[in-house]
């Protein structure tokens, strides 16, 4: 099997979707001729032409709102918002229209569309380019929210999102685009939405994370193993719908949990995961659930990024705290 990085895996998914389904189109700022600012759409414009791979004006609300019209009209648009920090102009369209057209028309009109949003920090980018606001999208009824952390999942999840009958917000971890590589099957396949993955099994403590922070969690799990701590690592992959069973089964087994995300702490999606653990398996816990998160601050610029982002050390320390508690 070929070895691809995460950006290449996403590119392959888009390529295959455009090839397989005539109703799929890709729209966004700079997604065509230049292949996207992260090159995720590289080569699509050349192969499928400007009718299906559309460079749009710089207008996020328009991209999503026109995309919704395209979706209701019978197409399957995959729209890209260049960075999460620039997705907010589209929030009105996402909250007031995309997420509710099915409900407000009682299934008569639907929005099978994917909104791809590169997110997260760690690449020393300019202001607004490091946001990790997936909890905002997770809070909106009527959306599915997906956050892959590895190439093989990224491809399968994106293909699943494109075929999904409902709108999907697809958050792509910018700092992993080229940092993780693995074997990715060449054929078209689907990784079902709403299923978490137990990425490695362990007995002492459950670490739950998603997206970009999975890399730090993997390294922390390695380091913990060297110190004799057996970590069970759960990659949520989909935030909504949340695979509660995989999380609670793991927590029931280990009795301890650490939740890791780079988004701000207050109201972060970790709070929802923690609440689910408390509601469903409080009495299986042997200690307090620990959160390792970004701070409730504006994401610092390049020179201060390391002060904000949880690193392997902070995840390890979270694991220790969970075991002591």
């Amino acid at each position: 099997m070929p070895i691809l990085n995460l950006a290449q895996a996403l590119n392959q998914a888009l390529f295959q979707a455009l090839e397989k389904w005539d109703d799929v189109m890709v729209l966004g700022e700079d997604v065509g001729r230049t292949g996207g600012v992260f090159r995720v759409t590289d080569g699509l414009w050349e192969r499928f032409g400007p009718e299906r791979v559309v460079d749009t004006p710089v207008a996020e609300s328009g991209i999503v709102g026109v995309g919704l019209g395209l979706a209701v009209g019978g197409m399957r648009p995959v729209v890209e918002l260049q960075f999460m920090g620039f997705s907010y102009p589209a929030l009105d369209q996402i909250i007031n229209h995309v997420s509710r057209i099915r409900n407000r028309s009682r299934h008569r009109f639907t929005a099978p569309m994917v909104i791809r949003i590169p997110y997260g920090g760690g690449i020393g980018a300019a202001e607004h380019h490091s946001e990790s606001m997936e909890a905002i999208y997770g809070h909106i009824p009527g959306l599915k929210v997906v956050v892959p952390s590895r190439p093989a999942d990224a491809k399968g999840l994106l293909l699943a999102a494109i075929q999904d009958p409902d709108p999907v917000v697809f958050c792509e971890p910018i700092r992993l685009y080229r940092a993780v590589r693995e074997e990715v099957a060449e054929e078209v396949y689907v990784t079902p939405l709403g299923e978490a993955a137990v990425e490695r099994e362990g007995d002492d403590v459950t670490v739950v994370s998603w997206g970009a922070m999975m890399r730090e969690c993997r390294e922390a799990a390695d380091a913990a193993a060297e110190a004799g701590i057996s970590v069970e690592l759960v990659d949520l992959r989909t935030l909504v719908p949340l695979d509660v069973d995989t999380v609670t089964e793991s927590v029931r087994k280990t009795g301890r949990a650490v939740i890791v995300h780079e988004a701000p702490r207050t109201g972060g999606f970790g709070a929802e995961v923690m609440a689910q653990i408390f509601e469903r398996c409080l009495y299986d816990l042997e200690g307090p659930v620990v959160r390792v998160t970004g701070w409730d601050t504006v994401f610092p610029l390049k020179r201060g990024e390391h002060l904000y982002l949880p690193d392997v050390g902070r995840v390890l320390s979270g694991i220790r705290r969970a075991l002591e508690g």
């Binding site: 189109m25 009718e51 749009t56 004006p57 207008a59 609300s61 328009g62 709102g65 026109v66 995309g67 919704l68 019209g69 395209l70 979706a71 209701v72 009209g73 019978g74 197409m75 648009p77 102009p89 009105d92 369209q93 007031n96 229209h97 057209i101 099915r102 409900n103 407000r104 028309s105 009682r106 299934h107 008569r108 009109f109 639907t110 009824p141 009527g142 599915k144 009958p165 409902d166 709403g194 909504v240 719908p241 949340l242 509660v244």
Partner: protein, 346 residues
């Protein structure tokens, strides 16, 4: 400003349609007015949620909708029930929507009309996408979107016209400049002399038309629709009209506008000039009017009965509309609500 039929009923150009269609559209305006007044009355009785009356705008809505093919897309607002009904949206569903029932948002399969937009301005981009989708699928269906003068201040007005211009999609932008956006007069909404002139910025034609003139509205919309269908791109139409009633049933226009202004516009009633026109051609008399009104009232009454006979929504209706198949968390939440209800607690 394009005008064909003056407020006193004089034809000052060539009629864009024959007498039969004129009679049919006049009848439609009578039905629309009957519907509108009935909704206001029902709201006062507490049978409808807040209602936004369109009295005074009948020619703008009926005349423009008449220029469409029955399967063209329409994306309109809370004040456009007449246009939606004229495009095939069942009246009982329009009433149902106003009773506060989502089932009112679900027209039959052959009716390509989205449920009315409650957010000001956000819906125009959808019409652009719809028209574009039709073109991509090789169909000649076009889309029309309705909005008010206030909506032209929203960012999405700009984004919609901009996208439509860039991709040359077959979308007709139909602005009903009814003079007011709640308490804000048109003059305070934009420094542009006309709304039609904004079209220049997007590389499309802009036309200003007397919105109370059924003939002129039909004519300019027909031209825009034909242009769109021929693949020649979008058009912005500004129909100058007037909201004779309050913004909604909760609004008191006495706080911000003169009764004199309203009276002046009453003299430009969109139905009256067509009535005179028909009367002068032997197609109108008081008995016929009474008959038309009576039939209209019955049609509206029937719609109200149907809407009010819908059974109340059940928990499954609240949860069932969110996704094609409800994910686990919604199934659990629905079960919880049902437990509360079974225990008499919800």
């Amino acid at each position: 400003m394009r005008q064909l039929l003056t407020p006193s009923g004089d034809l000052v150009g060539e009629a864009p349609f024959g007498l039969d269609l004129c009679v049919r559209l006049y009848r439609a305006m009578v039905v629309a007015r009957s519907y509108d007044r009935k909704c206001v009355a029902l709201q006062k009785q507490g049978r409808l949620a807040t209602y936004a009356p369109f009295e005074g705008q009948e020619a703008a809505q009926i005349g423009s909708a008449a220029a469409l093919e029955p399967d063209d897309w329409m994306v309109a607002t809370y004040r456009d029930a007449a246009a939606m009904w004229a495009q095939g949206y069942p009246m009982e569903l329009l009433v149902a929507g106003r009773t506060g029932d989502e089932r009112g948002g679900s027209p039959p399969d052959h009716v390509n009309v989205l449920p009315p937009s409650i957010t000001v301005g956000g819906h125009m981009v959808h019409a652009v996408g719809l028209a574009w989708a039709e073109r991509l699928q090789g169909s000649s269906r076009i889309a029309i979107t309705y909005f008010g003068d206030g909506a032209t201040s929203e960012g999405d007005f700009h984004e919609a016209l901009n996208f439509a211009g860039v991709y040359g999609v077959g979308c007709v932008f139909f602005c009903q400049n009814n003079g007011w956006a709640i308490s804000m007069p048109r003059s305070a909404q934009t420094a542009s002399e006309t709304i039609a002139q904004k079209a220049i910025a997007y590389g499309m034609p802009g036309v200003q038309v007397d919105g109370n003139d059924l003939f002129a509205v039909y004519e300019v919309t027909r031209q825009a629709v034909e242009r769109a269908r021929a693949g020649e791109g979008p058009t912005l139409i500004e129909a100058v009209t007037y909201r004779l009633g309050p913004h909604t049933t909760s609004d008191d226009p006495g706080r911000y506008r003169d009764a004199g202004e309203v009276e002046e516009w009453r003299r430009r009633d969109p139905l009256e000039r067509v009535r005179i026109f028909l009367s002068e051609r032997g197609r109108w008399d008081p008995e016929w009017q009474a008959e038309v009104e009576e039939k209209a009232a019955r049609e509206v009454e029937r719609a109200v009965e149907l809407a009010e006979s819908l059974p109340p929504p059940a928990p499954g209706d609240v949860f069932g509309g969110m996704f094609e198949s409800p994910p686990r968390h919604l199934r659990e939440q629905q079960a919880t609500l049902e437990l509360y209800r079974a225990a008499g607690e919800g």
